[in-house]
């Protein structure tokens, strides 16, 4: 079949119009041929004999009449063993490989193979001749780092197929045929360890999507206890610049207890990605003993890289994440920042001269954001296992104002909202998630009613604080003052967490439950307080001991001694001698 070709008739920024006569389809990939360079682009609109392309590279130097080749394929990624530890650009080109060949700068019009064709993998079959399979069925495994990577029948094979032949255990490259399957009309298909999947089409090779209930432990106390995220759930982190969005994302990517982390650095600072690139290969994951990189894929399309590829990068990331979910793993996708992705859509929409919606964002912004987050989920696979994909996106609202289209569209579709506050960031209260404005629809591993009470205390403490600013400490009753000190205490020792301390940075489920019980005890104790000065001293003392406690490893003997110290202090000052 000969490929359709066309000629450029117009250039406007990264939007190119092409006169074309053959068959083309929406979202098909096309290449603009410029000498040796092949500029990848995607059809975003089709008119009468005209294709509108968004070009994933700089359009500098293009001429009217330049040749365009259409590929007949949708924009897709390659799936197979070897994806983990990779650093890709938004179109799945491996950046370290490009650096090896081209040096400091990103060349235009170059494509690199995402996976190594030659590398041999130790394959173990999981099916035998005569077994029935369908798209998504596992036919064998290869070890990939710390995981058994499932080799699956490509997801678009629908209906039943019979295994005609499967290779014996041994070493194979990803392009080798490892099995042959037959459909009910006796047509034979050859299956390799790798296949492609279009990024904008969700992978649905599973039996059922089920409601996420089990928490994904992030080891950040304020999230896990107060605003939990479920495995297979969605959450968003909006915040003005300087509030610590990216730092929080980095903390999550390090400590969250998911099997696989996919980081999509979308339109943000290159420097931030460099931290991940340089540190993850040397940081140890305490749960596996391997480096963090072993469970990570980084998709990196930073702000100075071409805008259209930024739009694609989010889809590339979610597709790779879905692929690992199909193996029954818990995958966490962190997208930083979805606002840059939305802006990329806005730029494209403007060039297409579409009628703009609010703040010039396209009218379909909301549905695109919804479609993206809907790709998260807890699924039951054909083999009965479950896999989950949790999606968390940061949002960078213009002017830090949450009443803007991207934040609002996101809030409609996510189930947890971790709003960052500039005031908390300025007061160095990290993570700067606002405890009164944030919410989550998921359930924590700590009883719901207890959490409601704790939040109520924070709210009232805040009210007292506001009041004190007007009437001063003198005009505040002792009960109110105690309430205020308690809420400050809860904030300082539990909501805030020191990301730079090796122990405090990650607090597991067991520790959170244990520590929160002690916090609760303090909050519920009636303290014997004579003067405000005395009250302040007692609480500051408690705070100091407690923060020190946060820095002590739970397995060490000191942990218990420090806890006794806290209990002693509570009893000394409790109204009721035995405490509560």
């Amino acid at each position: 079949m000969s490929l359709t070709t066309g000629k450029i008739t117009g250039v406007n920024g990264n939007m190119v119009t092409v006169a074309v006569t053959g068959n083309i389809m929406q979202n098909e990939v096309a290449y603009i041929i410029k000498g040796k360079e092949r500029l990848k682009s995607e059809i975003v609109r089709i008119g009468d004999g005209v294709a509108f392309l968004q070009v994933f590279e700089s359009t500098k130097g293009l001429l009217i009449g330049d040749l365009v080749e259409f590929s007949g394929q949708l924009l897709s990624v390659q799936l197979g063993p070897g994806l983990l530890t990779q650093i890709y650009d938004g179109l799945q080109n491996p950046l370290p490989e490009i650096a090896k060949e081209y040096g400091f700068f990103l060349p235009r019009g170059v494509e690199k193979k995402p996976l190594d064709d030659e590398k041999l993998w130790e394959f173990t079959p999981a099916v035998k001749k005569g077994d029935l399979v369908t798209g998504g069925s596992v036919v064998g495994h290869v070890p990939e780092g710390i995981f058994q990577h499932a080799i699956m029948i490509p997801f678009d094979f629908s209906g039943e197929f019979v295994i005609e032949e499967i290779v014996a255990a041994g070493k194979y490259a990803i392009k080798d045929t490892i099995c042959r399957i037959k459909d009910n009309r006796d047509k034979i298909f050859e299956i390799a360890m790798t296949f492609r999947w279009p990024v904008k089409i969700p992978i649905k090779a599973y039996r059922d999507k089920i409601v996420p209930t089990e928490p994904l432990v992030t080891q950040a106390r304020i999230i896990d206890t107060f605003f939990p995220v479920a495995k297979g759930g969605t959450f968003c982190i909006p915040g003005p610049f300087g509030a610590g969005k990216t730092v929080l994302q980095h903390i999550l990517s390090r400590h969250a207890t998911a099997d696989i982390i996919v980081v999509a650095a979308c339109g943000e600072r290159a420097g931030e990605v460099v931290e991940l690139l340089r540190e993850f290969p040397v940081l140890e994951d305490p749960r596996t003993g391997k480096t963090l990189m072993d469970r990570t894929i980084i998709i990196c399309n930073t702000s100075s890289m071409p805008v259209a590829a930024r739009e694609a990068s989010v889809y590339t990331a979610v597709t790779l994440a879905e692929y690992y979910r199909q193996m029954g793993l818990d995958v966490l996708l962190l997208a930083d920042s979805t606002s840059r992705w939305a802006q990329a859509m806005r730029e494209l929409s403007g060039r297409l001269e579409e009628i703009p919606g609010e703040e010039a964002f396209p009218a379909y912004l909301e549905s695109r954001i919804a479609e993206f987050y809907e790709r998260a989920g807890l699924v039951q696979l054909y083999n009965g296992k479950t896999g989950s994909l949790t999606i968390g996106g940061t949002v960078s609202p213009a002017g830090g104002n949450f009443e803007e289209p991207v934040t609002q569209s996101t809030l409609k579709v996510v189930s947890a909202f971790l709003g960052l506050s500039r005031d908390r960031a300025n007061a160095r209260r990290f993570p700067s998630i606002h405890p009164l404005e944030s919410w989550s629809k998921y359930e924590s591993f700590i009883d719901k009613n207890i959490i409601i009470e704790a939040r109520e205390l924070l709210r009232r403490g805040n009210e007292v604080n506001q009041m004190m600013m007007v009437v001063g400490e003198e005009g505040t009753s002792m009960d109110d003052f105690e309430l205020y000190l308690k809420s400050e205490f809860l904030d300082s020792v539990y909501l805030q967490q020191n990301a730079f301390d090796p122990v405090d940075a990650a607090s597991n489920r067991e520790r959170q439950k244990h520590v929160f019980n002690v916090v609760r005890k303090i909050l519920e104790t009636d303290f014997r307080l004579e003067t405000k000065e005395e009250a302040r001293t007692i609480f500051y003392r408690l705070r100091q001991i407690f923060i020190d406690w946060n820095y002590i490893d739970m397995k060490s003997a000191e942990f218990k001694t420090q806890e006794d110290e806290i209990n002693k202090l509570i009893e000394e000052h409790s109204e009721n001698e035995k405490g509560v």
Partner: protein, 435 residues
């Protein structure tokens, strides 16, 4: 020989349209008018209709003027001969020196591969305590000064340029007032730094389209010097003028504005420039220090807002001081640790700011007429000393001297335990030996 066209179809704002073939996107053209020659750049191709933005503006262009396409995009000369020279936004000399046409390089080149970047960890010392101690500037950082008209931001920029330990300074002046430009020139000349500087200056009276080119020219040249191993400091003032020029062209081209008239790609446009800041593995570096004036002192205005999301922190310049609140260097952690700086650096940084924050509260209380306690009096004394001996822009001392001065101020105002400093540091650094 390139074809010459002499039929201009449309002139709208600073954009003209001609019918032409074989023209490439972003190619340059030369327009010859009765008033002289001007460069123009292709910004849209639609069949055989070519739209160009004219650098010198369209005033006085007649429909029969000659448009000659040059067959290449915007280029700039690059050589050591540029040192000490001053160019305009089209890359032509604005001093009396010769035209340089050797070794032309394209501007606005491709992005740096993130896999080739390294984590920056070299401090740039400026001898300004508010920077060195409290928000250290780091090689390859991109940092704007957020300010308002009337503040001495250009003086600050010139001083940093003069005192910073870098190999080269490249100034990009965008819509710079003529006297400000002369002041820059004078300051660097006096400081003996002109011979290691290159200026690209578009003044307020120069054509606005030319101002759009200034950052690209400055950064393209900086990039080449950095690749040759030089540590280059690029100063861009004022990026709000640059954004306004973008806005003007976008509106002329009938693009849908996104926020207060600015084009939807403002973020990408600014990022493409700021992200040129880099520390090359085994070569030099580019550090970008820019000025962003905030219209109406409003940080949520699209220009400072988008800038804040791109840059690695910001310095707020308010009432002649670098404001310790809001100012932030996101990379300071990379250079102020015990390993890379003096061991009391972080403690002084945090401790003095916390006390200054308390002083501000006390100052507010005082202005509301509350009675001042002994502690309040101490804070008031401290705040005054901190302002005059640390924050004042005329203070010009090394990082180590500034740290020592910090301890001295603390010792003059407080008892050791009132400062919340770690005991170990107090033992070592408290002047005249603390108990």
């Amino acid at each position: 020989m390139r074809k010459v066209y002499n039929k201009i179809l449309n002139i709208v704002g600073n954009v003209i349209t001609v019918k032409a073939t074989d023209v490439s996107y972003e190619e340059l053209a030369e327009i010859t008018t009765a008033r002289g020659k001007s460069l123009a750049q292709v910004i849209k191709l639609d069949g055989d209709l070519v739209s160009l933005q004219v650098f010198a503006g369209t005033k006085g262009i007649s429909v029969n003027d000659e448009v000659r396409f040059l067959g290449h995009p915007m280029m700039v000369t690059f050589s050591d001969d540029m040192l000490g020279r001053i160019f305009d936004g089209a890359g032509n000399p604005r001093d009396k020196g010769p035209l340089l046409t050797e070794n032309m390089i394209p501007v606005a080149g491709p992005a740096v591969n993130p896999a080739k970047r390294i984590i920056p960890n070299r401090m740039i010392r400026t001898n300004i305590p508010m920077i060195d101690v409290f928000n250290s500037l780091v090689v390859s950082q991109k940092l704007p000064i957020f300010s308002i008209s009337g503040e001495p931001y250009n003086e600050l920029l010139a001083r940093v340029a003069l005192q910073a330990q870098v190999d080269m300074i490249i100034l990009g002046g965008i819509g710079l007032k003529y006297d400000e430009y002369m002041k820059f020139k004078f300051t660097l000349e006096q400081g003996g730094a002109l011979s290691r500087s290159v200026f690209f200056v578009n003044t307020a009276s120069d054509p606005i389209v030319e101002s759009l080119m200034v950052p690209d020219l400055a950064l393209a040249v900086a990039e080449r010097f950095a690749l040759k191993g030089k540590d280059v400091l690029v100063l861009l003032t004022d990026m709000t003028n640059f954004s306004d020029a973008l806005k003007e062209i976008a509106i002329t081209m009938e693009q849908v504005p996104s926020n207060r008239g600015y084009p939807g790609d403002l973020y990408s446009q600014l990022a493409a420039r700021y992200e040129k800041a880099v520390d090359f593995e085994e070569a030099g570096s580019i550090t970008v220090l820019a000025v962003t004036t905030m219209p109406g002192d409003d940080v949520t205005h699209p220009v400072p807002d988008n800038t804040g999301y791109i840059t690695e922190g910001q310095f707020y310049l308010h009432h002649g001081y670098i404001d310790p609140f809001g100012s932030l260097s996101r990379l300071k952690q990379n250079v102020n640790s015990e390993k890379r700086s003096r061991k009391d650096h972080r403690a002084i940084m945090d401790g003095m700011i916390q006390l200054y924050a308390q002083f501000i509260e006390t100052e507010e209380k005082r202005s509301m007429g509350f009675r001042m306690s002994d502690w309040d009096q101490k804070l008031l004394k401290y705040g005054g000393m901190f302002r005059s001996q640390m924050m004042d822009l005329s203070v010009n001392i090394s990082l180590e001297d500034a740290l020592d001065r910090g301890w001295k101020i603390l010792a003059e105002c407080f008892k050791p335990e009132e400062t919340r400093m770690r005991t170990e540091l107090i033992k070592e650094f408290w002047p005249n030996g603390a108990k």
